[in-house]
Subunit: 338 residues, 2 copies
């Protein structure tokens, strides 16, 4: 027995009456034609009896790798990241890898050092939707890095796996324009992240060329209450009232709906509201939100695949995954102009 109280491969060897090397061979599954069937069986029996589990620390030390990836996410709460994890973990498991989550403490929280607080030994890092300045602690460390949902790298940088966010926004705006809307308010997340920068830019760009369109933008933090206040400002502001609140996320859309109700406006008859992300929240609300569905699980899977390729030294091609507009009941033609 080892110092930790757990049986070691030595113990297994002794019980089975063989050498440590043989145990390693058998349990490592690479004994075909090197160890007799009988011996192999004996080894497995002994290991079972003792409840032997290989010591991961020792294995990592010997192998120089841990077969573990670190997934850095900005917030656990968001169901989006849970799905990213699921996809990444699936692909990882298929390759004998594990995934350890590190919820990056945005501002407050534990040390901003993934390698200190997520103490696990790591072969590579997948960073998702990180703020521009939150990368500092990750960029160095010299570990292979894949970025999800981030500014495409200038070649030579970390490979990226992105969503077609711009296309998603385009689908939303065209849907709304098609319904007849011309007076837009954009409830924009006040977060310095590639994905949100793209959203804001694309809304403006798409609406810029259209005749008679007015666009007002209100920025707010990424929570319901802030969004309610922002929507309130947009609806109460000077000039003709917007007929639609285009929101950067479902959470913001929830706030927008509350603001509308607070003003006695019915959604969608008096005011249309659109979301983004297509979280469970989108269908928890009433009316259900028109939103843009993101293939989050596939993003996670593609990210893990990219990291695996990186670790194997293969070339990695940046990917962009398609998104899809889901029309529900929160959007409708604008009310007749007074």
């Amino acid at each position: 027995m080892s110092v930790t109280g757990r049986p070691t491969s030595r113990d297994v060897a002794r019980v089975a009456g063989v050498s440590q090397a043989t145990v390693s061979l058998v349990l490592g599954g690479k004994w075909r034609g090197r160890v007799s069937e009988r011996t192999a069986a004996a080894v497995r029996t002994a290991a079972d009896e003792l409840g032997y589990r290989p010591n991961l620390a020792a294995r990592s030390l010997r192998l120089g790798q841990t077969r573990t990836a670190l997934l850095v996410v900005p917030a656990l709460t968001h169901e989006y990241f849970a799905r990213i994890y699921t996809g990444a973990a699936r692909v990882a498991a298929e390759h004998g890898f594990g995934v350890v989550l590190y919820p990056s403490p945005a501002g407050i929280g534990p040390a901003p050092d993934p390698f200190g607080s997520a103490r696990a030994a790591i072969d590579g890092v997948i960073a998702s939707s990180m703020a521009a300045d939150a990368l500092s602690g990750i960029g160095d460390g010299g570990l292979p890095l894949v970025m999800l949902d981030s500014e495409p790298a200038p070649a030579g940088g970390a490979p990226t796996v992105n969503l077609a966010v711009a296309d998603g926004i385009r689908q939303v705006t065209r849907h709304l324009l098609g319904l007849g809307h011309r007076r837009f308010a954009h409830i924009a997340a006040d977060v310095d992240t590639w994905t949100f920068r793209v959203r804001t830019e694309t809304v403006a760009a798409e609406l810029a060329g259209v005749d008679g369109v007015r666009l007002r933008t209100e920025r707010c933090a990424l929570d319901v209450e802030a969004a309610r206040a922002a929507a309130r400002r947009a609806l109460g502001g000077p000039g003709p009232r917007p007929t639609v609140l285009l929101c950067d996320g479902d959470v913001l859309a929830a706030g927008a709906c509350k603001a509308a109700r607070g003003l006695g406006l019915r959604v969608p008859q008096d005011l249309s509201v659109s979301g983004f992300d297509d979280l469970a929240l989108a269908t928890a609300l009433d009316p259900e939100l028109t939103s843009v569905a993101l293939p989050a699980e596939e993003v996670g899977a593609a990210g893990m695949s990219a990291l695996l390729a990186l670790l194997a030294g293969s070339p990695v091609v940046p990917a962009e995954l398609p998104v899809e507009l889901v029309v529900r009941s929160s959007t409708a033609p604008p009310p007749p102009s007074p």
Copy 2:
């Protein structure tokens, strides 16, 4: 340089012109009066220059411990577990520990073996709100274990940190009874877990003794759509319509609200709805939900403290943390009887 391409303590020693032992002493912070200031400074400079990071695998192997705890949760999506993690991570950090998350694949998913798939080497396990049968893979392994939100152990078993769930339900029922409600429907989560069993039992127990009270129970899966269907059944069923839907969670309450609206019932004028957990969802909905707030972060913190005590061999006292009813706008007196 090591085989992994990363600088080792040997490299630091060479650059600083000292021995490995000295490096270890200095970087381990235990050199007071054993190494001269000058040498210590030299070591730190060298380590900085090289970007030295100690190899965790080697350290774990030598020390026989990893200073890492595994937190097993049934679902990442739930904001409740994100908060558990936050609390656990905070206490862990204060003691030089790390926390690795393992989202237990409920039924489907990767291997049900935390020690295989969450490959990190682990000193102990904290399991939160696990289904009764999901413990099998965890119970063995011989690792110190703390259970959160689970059946109190029969002494000698794993220590538990629990919420005063029964008291929370009691607060809700009394609030509703106080408003004048007598015809109850309980929208219960169809999940075989201590916390939900207690909720169901307590609702029944609290309402049992009260004159003229009718209770109907509808079970459903833990999602909005299932809850909507269950609420629909409860409202459409035979006999006089319930005046209140008491829900096992905010997610279920969201579904209940949708069912109400679908039937043209106003919340709370025609029908009261109460939630549980007090998630962000509770205030994202309109009207905002009356719910029961759970000190999730403190549960996580207490769980980690208990595990730390366990590892230190100290006695651990089971804890039960208080919960608090939050009255919002989804509950009101019942409509006058026809």
